[in-house]
Symmetry: D2
Amino acid sequence: MNDQHGQHDATTVVNGRYAYSFDYDVMHPYMIESFAPFFQKGSLLELGCFEGGFTSRFLPFFNDVTCVEASAAALTVAREKHGDAVTFVNVRFEDAALPKRYDNIVMTHVLEHLDDPVAVLRRVNDEWLSDAGYFFLVCPNANAPSRQIAVKMGLISHNAAVTSAEHEHGHRCTYSIDTLERDATAAGLEVVHRSGIFFKALANFQWDRLLETDIISKKYLDGCYQLGQQYPDLCSSIFLLCRRGGVKVPTAQVAARA
Amino acid sequence: MNDQHGQHDATTVVNGRYAYSFDYDVMHPYMIESFAPFFQKGSLLELGCFEGGFTSRFLPFFNDVTCVEASAAALTVAREKHGDAVTFVNVRFEDAALPKRYDNIVMTHVLEHLDDPVAVLRRVNDEWLSDAGYFFLVCPNANAPSRQIAVKMGLISHNAAVTSAEHEHGHRCTYSIDTLERDATAAGLEVVHRSGIFFKALANFQWDRLLETDIISKKYLDGCYQLGQQYPDLCSSIFLLCRRGGVKVPTAQVAARA
Amino acid sequence: MNDQHGQHDATTVVNGRYAYSFDYDVMHPYMIESFAPFFQKGSLLELGCFEGGFTSRFLPFFNDVTCVEASAAALTVAREKHGDAVTFVNVRFEDAALPKRYDNIVMTHVLEHLDDPVAVLRRVNDEWLSDAGYFFLVCPNANAPSRQIAVKMGLISHNAAVTSAEHEHGHRCTYSIDTLERDATAAGLEVVHRSGIFFKALANFQWDRLLETDIISKKYLDGCYQLGQQYPDLCSSIFLLCRRGGVKVPTAQVAARA
Amino acid sequence: MNDQHGQHDATTVVNGRYAYSFDYDVMHPYMIESFAPFFQKGSLLELGCFEGGFTSRFLPFFNDVTCVEASAAALTVAREKHGDAVTFVNVRFEDAALPKRYDNIVMTHVLEHLDDPVAVLRRVNDEWLSDAGYFFLVCPNANAPSRQIAVKMGLISHNAAVTSAEHEHGHRCTYSIDTLERDATAAGLEVVHRSGIFFKALANFQWDRLLETDIISKKYLDGCYQLGQQYPDLCSSIFLLCRRGGVKVPTAQVAARA
């Protein structure tokens, strides 16, 4: 389901040596850094884990991790990686019957692949997210500067377009904060925080090559991450933190959580 | 110490009727809304509580609340409001000897009043903040659109200027995200999240008058708050979430918190 | 064709007294202020002049002014206003046969009404704009803060949506800079400058009411205009300055113009 | 006076082959592209031409070009380049006695070097700029993303800081749009347009190295330039277009110009 992950898993060894990949090596750690201050004590559900690469990063934080993934082939890889440390469910989101509600639900770079995103978000809100839990929703950003520059270059018709390459990879739409929030809200979710992850002026293929040079450093990447929080609309990915809508968490319960 | 609070406490009754004030009635609730997802279980320390107006809003979340305030007169009012529900300490930050470390420390619209802001921030980092605790640092924003417009109007020389009215109210500087982060970092703090509170295109005095009309609604205000998260640099206030610097929280402990 | 103009022409006298209107009294002068530094010596063609309200503002700059307008009723009003000072052509853009090329062509808040905007823009590029001339293209901005706030309020589904009220007024799409530039470029035009007109955090109906109070001043409006140039994406209207594409103006000719 | 120019003139041949430089090869052409739509017919005065590198780019547009430059050594180089095509005046701005007023005055990356910038700007306004002329004022931008990232990295204390390296190169301050406009206005100038030149997320040294690779293309650079017009505050350089203040240009004269 998550093309980008597989794409990069396949290219991490190039010419006999390890190649850094922007999504795997840069974005994944920064996503965790963005999520961590909001993590709730308890369980975590990852929707669309693909081969379990991102899943690894949740294990230091949670003992109770469940992953839902439609691709049996991908799950085989994920199971080899994580064994019994993670509960894997091989099912499409539309068909999933999960045994409980979760305190944290994560969906990163998956929603733009779905035929009926609101229907799946509604399941998150109605069936899977606990009353005091958080839903971490992340998508690639239509307005990332790298993309806006590609639009100026004539490579993409407009910011929210789906290119033919993206369509082949399974993208059905390209979200910006307003359209992502529209779908989250339509599903009944309440958006409580909006942010962005990584100020991004270069395209993935440019980053992948730059990461092999000494033109940029880890500190420069950290700076892009930090600056991104000040310009969410200009980030590589956009991040909505959501709660169940229409559920009034009793103040006492909020206090208990705090 | 916190002029703006006193200023508005004094003006909440105008011409025999209640007058809405932007800072008290609009910004305070939105500050809490911004903080709540990050609240840590345990104790809270408010640095600069003035007359305890903002303090009230923490009580539903915390049983263990301490306030430090230099003005004895202000604290008298605060004590009348809160009695034994809050521990009050009447002392200057520079001279305070607090009995423990706190899980949450809040300082809103206070730092810009201090003669040596880094020294006080260093006490927060070195002496008062617990290893896994959060420091919520909020200041008025030099780059708020309302202020940038006032600069264009010639009422303020440049965004980061301190006007003579501000100086009389005790302001010593006007922060933007970069300078606020500079001081936090200089004090040893680690900034883990940057955000803004309330997209603000009108000045306080304009808001105070608008709030008396039906030109704007509560939902419009909510929209300004929500949009502000997408444009932190264009918010009324800027908000840095900080942790103790140089303290490596063991993963297990982070997991426990989560 | 241009609903907004008519709408406001009809409402400029309310309750027996003059009422300020945001579009007529605020935006029109600022549009001229935005255009003036780019004006080319020679002729001006206004596409969609409605009742000639905006046309008046070009007369101090140009002796040779032509207006194309599809509505015969609107043109009757315009002719009464301007008589022989302006050449009026009552025809749809699609059917217009104009006698020459123009040094300046202006189209403001019209393109979003057209069924085939690229076809009309192509006529501008291929038939009507002189080789060294400028085309001034202005549309309402999907990303104006006032609109983004309305989206947060749930009044509009997403920034680029066409609301039912807008659809009734004849809007066919809602442009942002990227989609406006896409259409201009598709028509062969070359975009040489991008800007925005008026930093706008309040909706038209709010402005119309505010303009009747003393909460805002002319200087505040000027400040919003000036600040808007620094944040084109956050302006009431977006403004593309275009030239004929694929026409290499000889350096000598550019020099002559300068 | 203009260190950056000299710096790059000196490094254009590295290791026996031509090396691209960001300022000379990228920024200079884009500055011209930014200025051209505003050029006025007539004369041009360049304040601080250094060795005449940028001067070359004005010659296709103007027959009457004058340059003022304090460094005799630099002017020797400039004279060799341009001979009689340009009038050179070897004098400090403070001491210059120029024979007439100019229709276009250009000052790029010079103001931040001056001890008394307002005094020199006042001479521009009071003595050198013609009534209908334009003053093109460009400075490096404190808020360029590349710089904001360097601030996050701890290499620069805050956006508007002057680093010791900058100080050695003669910088006396680091402007953002608000402070640049403050000084222009203080000198009596009227700012009629604000823009930015080149959306810049990488530092000069990074660009200089990138330009030697095929990671970026000319079209990518063009995209950065075009996008920069939408985010002036995030550009490499900021650009104010000014007119003489307090001089009411008769409408007729404006019309004549147009």
